[in-house]
Symmetry: D2
């Protein structure tokens, strides 16, 4: 198969107000015949340069109503235009530009980049198969300074980790879900709702939080909340890359450190992942 | 000289509410004698490990009231404790954790990382000299989709750039200012005010913006506004790393592209910088 | 499942001569029961910290005879020690330290890092299934300045790429192969042989090279040569991330540029990949 | 001032043999008047795009006989062509392509990237001042597995580091030297000679090495050897970014670890730097 990455900006105006989307699009194609590989016969090959042109032309003609709709448009174009395409997958990722505000007033043409979780989506289709849409959020860094522990784990002669009932829970979250076959969803609205579910399940109630007995359980809570609140989600995958923090031992410096000063532990670096679907 | 980087977390509680600062501290020391280099005589050398311990102990004892105060505390400690230190510089950078909110309600112990401009500061001192404090913001990505041009520049036989009166202005901003000799400023408050000045000078009025004839002029506008509004600032340096965007030529694809689809130009990649002080 | 990364150095001496291996090990485990996720029951969970200890203890006891043997040792340990493990995968990657030479004389204890292609391997096993070993090379950057073209490709109204019969072929190669079920191979020797095959197939004969009609065909040539020369390889995957170079058009600068000055094209950035096995 | 980065490839042929240089050029200009900043008057501004064209045209016309000569050519061009330029600095860095060899036979047009120390240079000039040339090597990673210690350092109540007489010495080296005013040196030959001096001073004799009492002393040995062997060098700066390795304590795992298994210590991360000139 072949793969491309194209980055571009799509502007549009409503009156004097400007709107901007900057996206990175990655298109994977697999052809029906491997002759390009085996024989060096290029007659069916769609050059990277042509793929770039198609993506830019579609952006020009249709705009980017939502990341998901744009990914669907690209898939449809390749499937209907090129009979030599056996499979197409489109990945679209957004640069998180947000409108600037001055004293609460939105600016008509100025933006700031706020990367607190990157939105992305995928659309994929095999010839004669359904078009399936995924969406997700990545690089979302979260921390709980309490209400997290890790106890009762399996122990043997290689175990040196002490049990802890009040540790820091910190990690980078990746979350991807599928919508099943594509319908006319309000993708922007659903995405925002899922982001809120993730934050709520991670943090618990604002006034007291909720105890997490492990990274794994927190991953599961996020999945359960999304599945219960957002009916359009069929399957949800969550990966949590953990950053561990150790309370610095200050005894030999003559001090007691009551979880006030902690250092990140670079190694071992762990992650836990789980994929959960509906019955 | 020697240099160290130490990353750690400082927690404190007020009632049930948690506060967190994660910082990266970098300490440079220069000793009065170069004997460690020339003779391999280590008797005056303060090991990296000791420097780390000192930084962590100061964080434990004093907390981090502000980045600047913490940098000052470290400088003072080294100057007063070690007579072999001829010069000390401390750089402190903050991981941009922000308190999570659920439906507008602040969470008591959960945080999200929002890197829309990184706050940092520096304190430096030569023995018998004044302690000087700098502060700044870096990795602040901004974009204006109009009200920017570049015309009337110098031309000769190597010039191929066309004049433009409606281009994208996009860049990553670095800004660093000095407070002169250290006083008891409200560093947090001043920092926020300067950040607002930067955004205002970059963007112009929310309803119409302000025309920028060049990156250089925008850099100067930012400096002038900060100097006029914030009396504590003595000298201000601004570096703007430009990202250029080209309107995609779609003529050979049979389309007119009225600044709707643009691609970033990776090379040449430019930056402009200026340092401005008070008379 | 859970995943860990551990980086460490393994030294050993033969007489006064030192040998060093620095590796990054990543272990994935899947347990037979998802109770840790669903119920927050940690009783079967093997903590990251324990996994780290096991990897370090195995390195201490057995050394790292080859990356592959070390990966196999880790897999075996987890499968035989923990009945709750349903699946284990171990990835091992080497930091490319090479012995220093002075005037051709090897140094007994000094090394230089030479990252001209990173060696890695994987071993994986499901309970009651065979242990399968993979090996590979990544981050191998290669360039041919001629004997490469791209012609006769599919064209339609979105095609703007001209045909070229003398372009630069430049890319970063990833190559991974499987040995099938594990036998007592001389993994170091085979790895070196495969690396040579890759370079030979990429470059062609030293005195004239060999024409490449596409990145795809070059990928296939590499695979075919490895499969024909190295009988232990069962399946081989090659991914070539292309860097395109454009001859700079200097007509409007009054110069003819006969493929003397070229600039890398950042976008579109392409890659092609193929997996090939034996019949 | 303004700054640009331009990356390009320069090819040339001698008979059927191809030669390639890929470089990254960075040009800083400061103009005699700040009117571009203060007044938004662009009439003296040399656009980034023009600078790029000049660099490419010089590469086309003169080739890149050596990095240093190319940097000098660029400086000279700007100083003689543009009377509004008050200061110019040119930085040139090389992508480390090496000719491929098959069974010892050099390939006529195939290359591999071998980043074991990156070569760079700088040329700078103020109007009416001398043109000064610097050269250097960076990203050179070296390790000694023995013959290194750190003892007799300053101790107080914050000291926790034990003395060590047999530790790992590992670091990333940056080295930059000045040639004083530019003469017709054989820059390629001198650069290779200095690289050899660095390796020799770092490692010591191949059969036994030489004891290093500190990173600082090793930095000084490198400087002294270069100054004594290479008369063209006026001043030499060396920065060594240290990576510390700790012997893993395996007592609670029931094992003795005789400096066989070590882990890198991510924090504190130190560096030491020194600049040394001739009397």
């Amino acid at each position: 198969y072949g793969k491309n990455t194209i980055k571009f900006l799509r502007l549009h105006k409503e009156g004097k107000k400007h709107f901007v989307k900057e996206v990175e699009v990655c298109a994977h194609l697999r052809l029906t015949s491997p002759q390009e590989y085996l024989e060096g016969n290029n007659s069916l090959v769609i050059p990277t340069d042509t793929i770039k042109n198609i993506v830019l032309v579609l952006a020009k003609k249709n705009g980017i109503p939502s990341l998901e709709q744009f990914a669907i448009d690209i898939c449809n174009h390749f499937m209907t235009t090129f009979c030599q395409v056996a499979y197409v997958k489109t990945y679209v990722q957004e640069v998180p530009w947000q409108r600037l505000h001055e004293d609460g007033v939105p600016h008509i043409h100025s933006f700031i980049c706020v990367p607190d979780g990157i939105r992305f989506c995928e659309a994929e289709q095999c010839r004669n198969g359904p078009l399936i849409v995924f969406a997700g959020i990545k690089d979302l860094k979260l921390m709980k300074t309490t209400q997290s522990g890790f106890e009762g784990f399996y122990k043997n002669e290689h175990t040196t980790l002490p049990e802890r009932h009040d540790r820091i829970l910190c990690g980078e979250l990746f979350c991807k879900w599928s919508y099943g076959e594509c319908k006319n969803f309000d993708f922007d609205c659903i995405w925002k709702k899922i982001r809120e579910c993730i934050l709520e399940a991670f943090a618990g109630p604002p006034d007291c939080g909720e105890y997490s007995p492990s990274y794994q359980k927190t991953v599961n809570c996020i999945q359960m909340l999304v599945l219960s609140r957002v009916s359009q989600v069929q399957v949800i995958e969550v990966v949590l890359n953990n950053t561990f923090y150790n309370v610095v031992d200050m005894k030999n410096l003559g001090l007691t450190n009551d979880k006030e000063v902690l250092v990140p532990v670079e190694a071992p670096y762990g992650s836990c992942a789980c994929t959960l679907g509906r019955k």
